[in-house]
């Protein structure tokens, strides 16, 4: 007879929640899974959230609550936004089994392009932004060409790009820093929507935006659930579903409250939120996203399934170039100018975020949200250690160990999964 599942996997645990053959979905509670299976189903992805909560709590205690103060939360957002933007592109590159070492240099060269136009040639802010994005797309196409169509490993192509575009930055800037930007340009990274609806020391507009976002989130979750029920698929039990939304809403609104009592809603947070949503959908719901995972999971099988591997690889790098340009604009705006050394080692932070967020070194695994949490985890840690006045050298060592342990955890998980085959 045919064996059912691998010997050491736990069919019993999952069997209990498996849909019975033709279970009619009369009630909303049919074929639901309980909270234990939700948590244990994928320790690799839930592990990072637990770690994040622990780290946030740890530093809240160590800093006597300062790390969760309104001003500091706003600071973390402003300080790490460009790393998170880079991490979105990076996790997609890593899922496909590549790497991009050039993004720090691309941040520099796109920021420099923008600075030259806006500062030196007195162009309006949006000309600078568009030019930077254009340069980013071109650089992405350049990398994509060599990786996808010539077949050179991304490590080499982007290592070359790292040197190439650092040099180009120096050329563009003639080896000097350019500053300051016009105030409009500076608002991209340091602007806030504040006082639109009044409120002194408390921005009602921020709260309103977040309420809208939370309601939209709850509605979309509900629609997904209804659709899944219509297709006879298992869904979390209704109380659990509500609890999940309430928890998310509470955390988000607490965050919104802190922002509102500080300086209001940072524009860069809006940019980041839109990017996370768009790329969350791209990776999870589109054919393109599916093909990225397929290529990283098993290149040969993807090729033999008709995936146009070269085209997909090309667009992955074009996209990385684009996001590096967005980060370049945000960073130049925040630093109010362009420096020859801008963006140095940003690629390492972005790569670390993706891996801490659960991406697999061998490709095929990873999520945008995971990378965001991974990036924030490093951000909260660095920020907390700064608040505590811990020396830079110790901070660097802690970050290194966290990255190592995160990937070790990933490898350990994989070995465990592999042994059950």
């Amino acid at each position: 007879m045919t064996r059912s599942v691998g010997p050491t996997s736990e069919p019993q645990a999952e069997d209990a929640t498996a849909p019975k053959d033709v279970a009619p979905a009369a009630a909303l509670g049919v074929g639901t899974s309980d909270i234990r299976t939700l948590l244990t189903r994928n320790l690799r992805t839930s592990g990072i959230y637990i770690a994040f909560v622990v780290v946030v709590a740890l530093f809240a205690i160590l800093t006597g609550g300062t790390s969760l103060s309104p001003g500091n939360i706003t600071n973390i957002v402003l300080q790490y936004a460009y790393i998170l933007i880079l991490a979105i592109g990076m996790v997609i590159v890593i899922i496909a089994g590549h790497i991009d070492l050039s993004v720090g240099s691309v941040v520099a060269v796109t920021g420099a392009t923008s600075a030259v136009l806006v500062i030196r040639h007195d162009q309006p802010w949006w000309v600078g932004v568009l030019a930077a994005l254009g340069v980013g797309l071109l650089i992405g196409a350049w990398h994509g060409f060599w990786v996808a169509f010539v077949g050179i490993p991304a490590f080499i192509v982007t290592l070359a790009g790292m040197l190439l575009f650092r040099g180009l930055t120096l050329q563009v800037l003639s080896n000097v820093s350019l500053s300051p930007f016009t105030p409009e340009y500076g608002k991209i990274a340091s602007g806030f929507s504040n006082g639109l609806l009044g409120g002194n020391g408390f921005d009602a507009f921020t709260i309103l935006i977040f309420v809208v976002a939370v309601v939209a989130y709850a509605y979309s979750q509900f629609r997904t659930r209804v659709a899944r029920v219509r297709y006879n698929q298992p869904v979390p039990s209704f109380p659990l579903f509500v609890a999940q939304i309430v928890v998310v809403a509470a955390v988000v609104m607490a965050f919104a409250y802190q922002l509102a009592t500080a300086r209001g809603l940072p524009y860069v947070l809006v940019i980041l939120a839109v990017l996370i949503m768009v790329y969350g959908v791209v990776t999870k719901r589109t054919v393109f996203g599916r093909q990225v995972y397929a290529i990283g999971g098993n290149l040969a099988a993807a090729t033999l399934s008709g995936v146009k591997v070269k085209a997909v690889n090309f667009w992955i790098f074009v996209n990385m170039g684009f996001l590096a340009a967005v980060a370049g604009v945000v960073f130049s705006s925040r630093s109010n100018g362009a420096q020859p050394g801008a963006g140095n080692s940003f690629e390492l932070d972005a790569i670390a975020a993706a891996f801490i967020g659960g991406a697999a070194v061998t490709g095929g695994v990873g999520t945008v949200v995971g990378a965001m949490v991974g990036g924030l985890l490093v951000g909260v840690m660095s920020n907390g250690m700064q608040l505590m006045g811990i020396d830079q050298s110790i901070q660097s060592m802690v970050k290194g160990l966290v990255l190592l342990l995160a990937v070790a955890f990933d490898v350990y998980n994989k070995r465990r999964a592999g042994s059950s085959r």
Partner: protein, 512 residues
């Protein structure tokens, strides 16, 4: 009792769930050339891996006596130390290193201070090359040599190790006729120098020409050892012993009603991707609707290469040939074009080429048909799950849910996922490459049932298989393939295992 250099007694080796070798006995006389024959998967390679220590002592039952002593090798180093060298079908040379560096890899010639004495190494390498009749400079990188010459380098490497027993696994499979003849001459020369050889080969002509004794293995058991000097021994007798497996009623009944021609391949010729030789040589065959056509060929005959090159030219370099679907020529140059044209190819190696093992059933199931399950670039996850559920039900895939990770399923269930994946593309022709390899009897029966359902629904199915009883059990017609050429077409009613094996081992000269 004769002077035997090697006695393997009652060797039994089990893998989880499979008995690969069962009570195998092999006696090799000192100084002879001993051939081992058997179908693919009969256990020849496993036996050689036991002998050379790849499967260390304790991993198998039985006794090995080599050179008069009971030996228990813990690894390949032990067996090499004792004087047993195995040359695998896939050569184990480092292409970027020179001939001399390859020959002395792992046993470097050291001079003063423990540094490598390259003058000594190159001089000795040159000597060894002369003894195998290879006229090359020892500093030439191995990658610059052809496969035939690389094989000679392997033998030179074996000679450098004071070899007493040389095992050659399919040594001529990748060689042309001249190189094969040279190699066989060399093996005779080694025999004159007192070196014993074991040669595993599908080329029965060669065995007939060179071997002193031939042992036939079938289904993990020794069938018989033949004395090749005996005038009653000929190729036909070897074939009979190789295939003599009973035809069981493991195959579900099917009524055959072939319809119109669906696929016709004419003069299909493909070159090896990196070597200058034809892997598929003017192959012509056809399949009709509601028909199962088998392609029989031994290892290295070019079966998979034929199938993959038809499937959007996903193997080798296209030379010439035409493909017709429903009588109309199609020029599918990529896999996605082939899928759109209505061809599906389920690979022989599902783990390597067929599935994304770290992903779930639903996503693997949809991987080749995403355009059918998406609108404007967005995948409809619910339709995808529904399709996977349908596949799970109709194929009887045993898994808790369609979100189960494919890597954790059994081989039979993985194969069903592969079949379900290709059915989702709604093909007209399904090429199934070794559809039942490595899966148990129950699952095999289920796969055959699925194939029967497909042809009943009017699909055309091509089955590539090493198991002749399987082909005889499920096909309407069988084409035989040997060295890239179609050597025959036999309706199943007239086919016997012996007849197929004769065609499968037919050499080029004999092909009309």
């Amino acid at each position: 009792m004769a002077d035997n250099i090697l006695e393997m007694r009652s060797i039994t080796k089990t893998f989880p769930g499979v008995k690969a070798l069962s009570d195998v006995t092999l006696s090799v006389a000192r100084g002879e050339v001993h051939a081992i024959c058997g179908e693919n998967g009969a256990g020849k390679s496993t036996l050689m891996k036991v002998l050379s220590g790849v499967y260390p002592a304790g991993d198998y039952d039985g006794e090995i006596v080599f050179d008069g002593q009971v030996v228990s090798f813990g690894g390949i180093r032990d067996s090499e130390h004792a004087g047993i060298v195995i040359i695998h079908q896939e050569l184990a040379l480092v292409p970027y290193l020179s001939i001399a560096e390859n020959i002395f890899l792992g046993s470097e010639k050291r001079g003063r201070l423990g540094l490598i004495d390259w003058n000594l190494a190159n001089a000795e390498a040159a000597e060894l090359l002369r003894s195998v009749g290879l006229d090359e400079n020892p500093v030439t990188p191995v990658g610059q040599l052809g496969v035939g010459k690389q094989q000679l380098v392997e033998i030179a490497k074996a000679l450098s190790k004071d070899v007493k027993l040389l095992i050659l696994d399919e040594p001529t499979a990748a060689l042309n006729d001249t190189d094969s003849a040279h190699l066989l001459g060399l093996i005779r020369g080694l025999k004159d120098r007192g070196i014993t050889s074991i040669i595993i080969s599908h080329k029965l002509n060669e065995i007939d020409a060179i071997a002193d004794h031939t042992t036939i293995i079938r289904d993990g058991q020794t069938v018989e050892t033949l004395d090749m000097a005996d005038p009653t021994v000929d190729i036909d007798r070897i074939i009979r012993l190789m295939v003599g497996r009973a035809l069981d009623s493991y195959y579900p009944e099917r009524e055959s009603h072939p319809g119109a021609e669906v696929l016709r391949v004419e003069g299909w010729t493909v070159k090896h991707p990196s070597q200058d030789r034809l892997v598929v040589d003017h192959a012509t065959f056809d399949v009709r609707a509601g028909e199962v056509v088998g392609i029989a060929g031994l290892m290295g005959a070019g079966r998979t290469e034929l199938a993959m090159s038809i499937f959007g030219r996903s193997y080798g370099t296209f030379v010439e040939g035409r493909i017709f679907l429903h009588g109309k020529e199609t020029k599918a140059r990529s896999v996605s074009e082939a899928i759109h044209a209505g061809i599906a190819y389920a690979t022989e190696d599902r783990k390597k080429y067929g599935l994304n093992l770290i992903d779930d059933i639903a996503r693997n199931n949809s991987a080749a048909a995403l355009d059918k399950l998406s609108r404007r670039g967005f995948v409809d996850a619910n339709e995808e799950t529904k399709a996977a559920e349908e596949g799970r039900r109709s194929m009887n895939i045993k898994a808790p849910t369609v979100k189960s990770i494919v890597g954790k399923l059994s081989g039979g269930n993985q194969q069903k996922v592969v079949l379900s994946k290709w059915l989702l593309t709604d093909p007209d022709v399904l090429i199934l490459d070794e559809p039942t390899r490595g899966i148990d009897v129950g699952a095999k029966y289920e796969i055959y049932t699925i194939i029967n359902k497909l042809v009943a629904a009017g699909k055309a199915v091509v089955v590539i298989s090493s198991e002749l009883p399987e082909l005889l059990g499920i096909c309407d017609r069988v084409f035989t393939l040997s060295a890239g050429r179609i050597t025959g077409q036999v309706p199943v009613a007239e086919a016997t295992q012996e007849r197929l094996m004769t065609l499968m081992t037919q050499e080029k000269e004999l092909v009309g």
